[in-house]
Symmetry: C2
Subunit: 340 residues, 2 copies
DNA sequence: TATCCTCGCGATAACGTTATCTCGAAGGAT
DNA sequence: ATCCTTCGAGATAACGTTATCGCGAGGATA
């Protein structure tokens, strides 16, 4: 057992390959070969080196290895929120692990500046590739990184100002399915409350809803309410839709946060009388009364595809940019089957 | 605009400080000084270097910097699940960011092998410190890392086999509060279903519940059911507690997953007739009927404290090991106030 | 036995950055 | 006018690893 050296700061200094080589009485390069399981090393050397590694409790420094080899074996994921229910991220982590890649995840936190900082930081760390759930308005600042060969994949929404691979849900079909489902249950006044049209997914969903209304010969006025997802804004939209002269009897919500805001504003009693289909799965949707009917995104498929797109681009930086659209499914649970 | 060089692999090669120095006509060291905002650089040099940086779209390589300086500015968090509701992790990310630290989070996924791999990988990356929500039985394999000066903090549970800083909730008090609350509402047969006593939190909570029963002169038999959190096991425990000769009228659940398993097994009708207090906050607890009364952990405080403990240890590796116990609070919402 | 490979280990350069040291020029004091 | 100090920039080593190259020993072939 060799005592750990300490540097001037007083903090212990970890042994390096040089130390191991000295301890084992072999060359530095031989230690490297043993660590990397190079088969051309003689068995007696392997024994000596492994003994020295154990004696010093040597641990290779990945930073140095990465610097030398040029690859990090790590991909980054800049998502809106880690630490919240995020099945896409879970799928990304699982897929990355299966591919032997380490995942580095960070929350952009609905903050454009933070998104910028995270992405630039990931570039400076020379990650092998980056998956981003875009939030900002303009990502043209990433063009130099793209030119430098940084593999980049957008998830849930395309990026603006640059051309990158993208995987996203079929928003239009999903909204169409929700509308159609409610229409089939006898509703004629169906309202929509959803996210702001600033982001593409919000734009697509609101547009699809307007199109559905028109296709069924219904008027659009007073029924489509995109905007910020704040309790107040959602409450106002809800009041307009439900308490006007020609009140809606059914509602489609454009994403999970809007769905929850609606449920909280209405309260359990009123909510149970309203026909409601939410876009996006909601945790514990099955425990609510009535259980919540939703348009579910294939989140696992989206996350998996994001990693596969990224791996494909890492393997072939020159391949054509690709957009994958993943279908959505209707989950009938009760709230969407309230009759008019 | 200088064209990006390509290495033999065909992938673009990013410009380095040497390239910038050549472009700017200055020494390598001067570029480094500009990048690091060294005030001793003459203004005309700053202009020249910054122009060269922009022209080449140079981006410093953090790996090389980290290797040279020895610090990564990054802390790791090995938690059971990123991508699930995890307020502790959210607080960790926020606190780390405010401290100028990058957070690297990974899911141990309730898998001891995976936990081991993640922790070792974090050590190899020479992160500045590690926060771990321990899962495995024995962490003695981390002793060499501790000796080497790797700062380590346990969250939610202490670690076994090594002595490290720890922040955790006051489990015993929480269970006591839950029991007392139900007792005050007239219940005399109160059952407990919770996690396995294999882990310390499960052990503490079950023990506290037994102690509460004894303190109130109640018999313990048939009322305390620790074990794996599978739907079948929870269902069996529930049947034993509720359908025996002397059935329980109230229930304390030992953690969120148990609470959800109970609610799902009982169904909405039966659940609304049972007095229930859950340990741990449940997402959407306010939307259930009745809304769920819980013992809430101060998750934000726990996450923040974990980072602070880690920073303190990074700053002073020799400081005494410290355990912080954070109080819990009772959130009265309805389910715990069902009378006997 | 001489020659040619082949195999396996060692010396050394290189990855891209920062830290240490040197050195020249400028400016003030004697 | 000379010396000393100060200031700012350049040359070079170093961080810990892997890749390239060289070289000596040993076996196969002529």
């Amino acid at each position: 057992m060799t005592r750990a050296r300490r540097d001037s700061g007083g903090r212990p200094k970890r042994p390096t390959m040089v130390d191991v080589a000295r301890e084992a009485g072999v060359a530095l390069r031989t230690v490297s070969r043993v660590v990397n399981q190079d088969p051309t090393v003689g068995p007696e050397y392997v024994v000596k080196v492994e003994a020295a590694i154990a004696a010093l409790s040597y641990r290779p420094d990945d930073r140095a290895r990465q610097l030398r080899t040029g690859v990090t074996g790590t991909i980054g994921a800049a998502v809106r929120r880690i630490a919240e229910v995020n099945p896409e991220l879970a799928a990304i982590e699982r897929t990355a692990r299966d591919a032997g890649l380490t995942l580095f995840a960070a929350s952009t936190d609905f903050d454009e500046t933070r998104e910028h900082d995270i992405l630039i930081s990931m570039c400076r760390q020379r990650l092998d590739g980056i998956i981003v759930e875009p939030f900002g308005e303009n990502h043209a600042y990433l063009q130099p990184e793209l030119d430098a060969g940084v593999p980049l994949v957008a998830m849930d929404r395309p990026m603006s100002g640059i051309s990158v691979d993208c995987v996203m849900s079929d928003n239009a079909s999903g909204i169409g399915m929700a509308f159609h489902h409610l229409h089939q249950h006898g509703h004629r006044r169906i309202a929509y409350i959803g996210d702001s049209e600033r982001v593409l997914s919000g734009r697509e969903r609101a547009a699809a809803f307007r199109a559905a209304l028109r296709a069924h010969g219904e008027a659009v006025e007073g029924l489509v309410h995109p905007g910020e997802i704040t309790p107040d804004r959602v409450a106002a939209a809800l009041d307009t839709a439900l308490h006007g002269p020609d009140p809606a009897t059914a509602l489609v919500t454009g994403n999970m946060d809007t769905t929850l805001a609606v449920l909280r504003h209405l309260g359990p009693q009123a909510a149970s009388r309203l026909a409601l289909v939410g876009f996006d799965e909601v945790p514990l949707a099955d425990l609510l009364q009535p259980a919540l009917t939703v348009i579910a995104q294939q989140t696992a498929e989206i996350g998996r595809t994001a990693v596969e797109l990224l791996r494909a681009r890492i393997a072939d930086p020159g391949r054509p940019v690709q957009t994958v659209v993943v279908p959505v499914t209707l989950k009938v649970r009760g709230s969407g089957e309230v009759r008019a």
